[in-house]
């Protein structure tokens, strides 16, 4: 009997160990390590609240790896580590990639919080990281080793404020995921821009908070309902956001919901059902109208690999992050981390799936347009492309 207990415990531990780090074979399937391969680490949430987002990014990275499996005549091996949608686990995952797997560069992570948590480690160990969809300004600020391929929250918040104002809203309510740096950032910049646009300092009638992993929003939504806004800006993780909207409709709140890029994923519409109909977001990429040749190539490969899936915009960003690193390795003509970093800093006009990428001094891309999508018949559909001067 004791044996069974011991066996159970052993099972648990191995299960835990396996969920920590997964190696993905290169396209050609050779398991060689050492001199012939260059390792690129990926840390993404593959379990926990943000799992769907992390998975979507990894999909894009894998496709990029399939299309570009070699650089400098060496195979590129992707090592994926799960950060479990947790800030503490994010640092563990990155430490593991750097110390154990000795990766040359790192991609990740979905969720600015996790990227920021890993920032110090990346800097200290001088291993460059390229974020795919982490939009908070603080990810790259003051960190020479962090880059990203997506636009930033101030831009995204402004885009949505403009959209709300143009659609005739005079009063907005904000529901923010207060423990999520991304959501708080977006909400702050939305408020700033919205107040400026309406010229009314009280145009944001109420701001309510909730926590990551919360499931009960009745109290917050009752407050919002009492404030009677024209529109609700509710940036946050898609899991909670879908529930927020469901519960809002149940409380009889009928005004439109606006959000950010995090909602652009199948799970948001499948969990939200009819209650997320009409939800409007800004996002990075639309697979029905790719803007670059690289984008077309990517969409084609994606459709072939995942024929039944609606593509998430972050998949395209994952693809771009991989591409930028490959180009930097080529430019540096070396797999040395510091050399890659220096080459990354000089990234200019690299054609990615989401557009041409040029990094500024902070390591942020020079992007000035966002795509607006609306949920229609249970699917995000293209609405508009907005350009806002930064």
């Amino acid at each position: 009997m004791k044996k069974i207990a011991a066996l159970l415990l052993a099972l648990v531990m191995t299960a835990a160990a396996f969920s920590g780090c997964k190696k993905v074979e290169t396209a050609s399937g050779s398991g060689e390590t050492g001199g012939d391969t260059i390792k690129i680490g990926v840390f993404e949430p593959l379990t926990g609240a943000n799992a769907a987002g992390g998975e979507a990014e990894v999909e894009g990275i894998k496709i990029a790896n399939k299309l570009y499996p070699e650089v400098l005549g060496k195979k590129v091996e992707i090592v994926v580590a799960d950060n479990k949608s947790d800030k503490a686990q994010a640092t563990t995952a990155v430490a593991r990639l750097i110390e154990k797997d000795k990766v040359s560069a790192i991609i990740g992570s979905w969720g600015s919080s996790f990227s920021m948590a890993a920032g110090d480690l990346v800097k200290k160990n001088k291993v460059p990281a390229v974020g795919a969809s982490c939009t908070n300004p603080l990810v790259t600020k003051g960190n020479d080793y962090y880059f990203r391929v997506c636009y930033l929250d101030p831009f995204q918040g402004t885009v949505m404020a403009n959209y709300a104002f143009k659609s005739g809203a005079k009063k907005a309510a904000i529901i923010q995921e207060v423990s999520n740096d991304y959501a708080v950032g977006l909400a702050t910049y939305f408020k700033e821009a919205f107040v400026k646009l309406t010229g009314d300092p009280n145009s944001v009638v109420t701001t309510v908070n909730y926590n990551t992993n919360d499931q009960e929003f009745g109290a917050q939504l009752s407050t919002v309902k009492a404030a009677n806004p024209d529109v609700i800006f509710a940036p946050g993780n898609f899991t909670e956001s879908a529930l927020v909207m469901k519960q809002a409709r149940q409380l009889g709140i009928t005004v439109p919901f606006l959000g950010g890029d995090t909602w652009d994923i199948d799970e948001f519409t499948s969990v939200g059902g009819t209650d997320v109909e009409g939800a409007t977001i800004s996002t990075f990429f639309d697979d029905s109208a790719p803007v670059t040749e690289e984008g077309k190539k990517f969409v084609e490969a994606y459709k072939k690999e995942y024929p039944d899936k609606n593509m998430a915009a972050v998949s395209a960003l994952g693809y771009d992050a991989y591409l930028v690193i490959i180009k930097a390795i080529e430019a540096a003509n070396s797999s040395d981390s510091t050399a890659i970093r220096d080459a990354l800093a000089k990234t200019k006009d690299v054609e990615g799936a989401t557009g041409k990428l040029t990094f500024n001094a902070d390591g942020d891309p020079d992007k000035d347009s966002a795509i607006i999508k609306v949920v229609k018949n249970g699917k995000f559909t293209y609405k508009d492309t907005v350009t806002v001067a930064k």
């Binding site: 009997m1 004791k2 069974i4 207990a5 159970l8 415990l9 099972l11 648990v12 299960a15 835990a16 969920s19 949430p45 593959l46 379990t47 926990g48 609240a49 799992a51 769907a52 998975e55 207060v178 423990s179 701001t207 309510v208 908070n209 909730y210 926590n211 992993n213 919360d214 499931q215 009960e216 009745g218 109290a219 917050q220 009752s222 407050t223 309902k225 009492a226 899991t239 879908a242 529930l243 469901k246 409709r249 149940q250 409380l251 009889g252 799970e267 499948s270 969990v271 059902g273």
Partner: protein
């Protein structure tokens, strides 16, 4: 704060509280009989959610059949866990059983992640309880009205079983002292297995209603409800069925009111539940209506 808003929040609080109460009852039962804090209870709850998801969304069982299917399967899972992870440790120190419970909890979480992936799935509205009705200015989900009814029914059945049946008598005997109960000829394996079956079955009933309110299924969904219901059980007096119900309502109402009246403190909602737990343990460790247990020498 207008009266309207207060009433709405009161309704919200009762809706949350009755769900906590329903799950806390299952928690408290296992503790009451075995003096074991079954940390895997929240994960059994999670597995029940997946059973419901597969029963309804994948196999398209009719609702009455789906409910029976989920409750029976979950009860079976609870009994299996008891058989494999707790019974072998029956005569081991209490700490070993606790560690085993935590192990089972991790095992279920990782197993679910491995099998079902970490991505959330939508909980089906197979009972038609997700829609809303308005009572004056107060909007409520239909499920919020059903939960207290189910709670009363479950509690009545449970109190009947423990107080009036032979099995209940055996349960009470085992809870007093299972060594003596065993010597007196009670089949304690059977009694304890039944306890786990009933407790897990209650978790299944809980999750069917929980899913109507929070329609999302994911491998870690049981962690917070598990902890909250443990806290609810402790507030009321762990091991006491009426106490668990009282604790559930108190916790649900306090949480909702905290968020409603003190907006800036929203982020500390979970922390507050734990502070409440610590306070209760410091001031009145037996809980509000728990009995004082005398230490056996």
């Amino acid at each position: 704060m207008t009266l309207e808003l207060f009433l709405q929040n009161l309704a919200n609080g009762i809706a949350v509280g009755s769900l906590y109460a329903l799950i806390a009852v299952g928690y408290t039962m296992v503790y009451g009989i075995l003096r074991l804090i079954n940390f895997a209870h929240g994960d059994i709850f999670m597995m029940a959610a997946y059973f419901t998801f597969f029963g309804v969304a994948v196999f398209h069982l009719p609702w009455y059949f789906a409910c029976i299917f989920v409750v029976v399967l979950t009860a079976g899972l609870g009994m299996l866990i008891e058989r494999v992870a707790y019974r072998p440790l029956r005569d081991a120190p209490k700490d070993s059983v606790l560690v085993s419970a935590i192990g089972v909890s991790f095992l279920l979480e990782n197993l679910a992640t491995y099998i079902f992936s970490g991505k959330p799935k939508a909980f089906p509205d197979f009972l038609g309880l997700m829609s809303t009705i308005s009572l004056g200015t107060v909007s409520l989900q239909k499920v919020a009205l059903v939960v207290p009814l189910v709670l009363v029914v479950c509690m009545s059945i449970l109190l009947f079983v423990t107080n009036k049946t032979k099995l209940g008598m055996a349960m009470r005997a085992v809870s007093k002292d299972y060594e003596i109960a065993r010597v007196m000829g009670i089949n304690i394996n059977l009694v304890i297995a039944a306890t786990f079956g009933i407790g897990s079955g209650l978790a299944a009933v809980g999750v069917i209603l929980w899913g109507m309110k929070y329609p999302q299924v994911s491998p870690l969904m049981g962690v917070m409800p598990g902890l909250k219901c443990f806290i609810a059980a402790v507030i009321g007096g762990i091991g006491n069925i009426k106490g668990a119900v009282l604790g559930g309502f108190i916790l649900g109402l306090i949480e909702v009111m905290l968020v409603a009246f003190f907006q800036p403190l929203t982020g500390y909602r979970d922390a507050f539940a734990f502070i409440l737990l610590i306070l209760i343990l410091l001031v009145k460790p037996t809980g509000l209506i728990g009995e004082k247990t005398t230490e056996k020498v």
